[in-house]
Amino acid sequence: MIKKILTLIFEPIRAFSNRNFAEKLSIYYSKNKWIAPVLSLLITLVILVLAYVLPNL
């Protein structure tokens, strides 16, 4: 635990890459193909709110 904290302080980028996020995300995506359209829909909604709603408030 202390080693992990020390790595996070001294080598944050390495600590971040050690988590293997890309590997985990890729495996999750290959098992749950529905995630792509749902994630895209959420991103689209955020873009729409930023483009249409916020400037009109």
Partner: protein, 274 residues
């Protein structure tokens, strides 16, 4: 804190509802609703393509995550107006898209190929008969006993046409003798993979994209890497016979398993081809 968030949501909701009420019929924020819907659809299509493009390749995803990290750091530095790291990170984040295209050119090409072709599913799926299974097993065992390298890929839902197009088309019935003959060294078709669709050998001499999975032994040969590579991007199963050791392995869903005996091989093929 919670009350603040609640208040903010209520404020925004009231504001939006108020705005909508003020608008004339068929208009939203002074823009025709149909325009907003079509615009939203176009944005969704583009975002969907981009998401699929990034997540279809592990290396691409890994680069995208590190870029995201740089953008977050740049935003934090910009927000707090840091004197040194602010300009450096802003400058870096502006050049990242160009850097990405230069560094990732081969992967971008590969990802684009996957985005267009990997999901094409063969709905008229017919798996091989009992005779085909027996022929594949017999051939694999014979090749292993003679220490002849082989790569046999059995297609399932994801079509392997894009690989077959560049290989030698055969369209012949699966038989032990034909398979052995294909992989016999110093013959024109022995290099590359055989693709089996249903009860027929679709092609021989097919080349797959090699896996870059770091979890496997670095000394793993290119035949094994090819088998693993195709199993990562399609739902096919590949039987690999090692030229050096004569061991049989199967690659399925990005996992490679060493097969020790005939029964185990039969079990996996039965499970896959049912």
């Amino acid at each position: 804190m919670l009350n603040n968030i609640k208040y903010m949501i209520e404020y925004l909701t009231c504001d939006i509802i108020g705005l909508v009420k003020k608008e004339r019929d068929g208009m939203l924020f002074g823009i025709p609703i149909w325009k907003i819907i079509v615009d939203a659809y176009f944005v969704w299509v583009l975002v969907f393509f981009l998401v699929k493009f990034i997540v279809s390749n592990k290396r691409m995803l890994s680069i995208a995550i590190s870029f995201l990290l740089v953008y977050i750091l740049a935003y934090i530095a910009h927000y707090f107006d840091f004197l040194i790291s602010g300009p450096i990170l802003t400058y870096l984040s502006q050049w990242l898209p160009v850097l990405m295209i230069i560094i990732m050119a081969p992967d971008i090409r590969r990802s684009l190929e996957i985005v267009w072709k990997a999901d094409t599913r063969n709905d008229m799926l017919v798996m091989g008969s009992e005779r085909t299974k027996q022929c594949i097993i017999e051939a694999a065992l014979y090749l292993a006993s003679q220490q002849i390298g082989a790569l046999i890929t059995i297609e399932k839902h994801n079509t392997l046409d894009q690989y077959a197009e560049r290989a030698i088309m055969m369209n012949s019935e699966v038989s032990k003798e034909v398979l052995i003959n294909i992989f016999t060294p110093n013959t024109p078709l022995h290099d590359g993979a055989v693709i089996i669709r249903g009860d027929s050998i679709l092609c021989a001499g097919a080349y797959f994209v090699l896996s870059d999975n770091q979890n496997f032994d670095k000394t793993m040969g290119s035949r094994h890497r090819a088998g693993l590579g195709i199993s990562e991007i399609t739902d096919s199963m590949t039987i690999i016979v090692s030229e050096e050791t004569g061991h049989i392995s199967i690659a399925i869903e990005g996992i490679m398993l060493k097969i020790n005996d005939r029964d185990k091989l039969m079990e996996y093929i039965n499970m896959f081809m049912k």
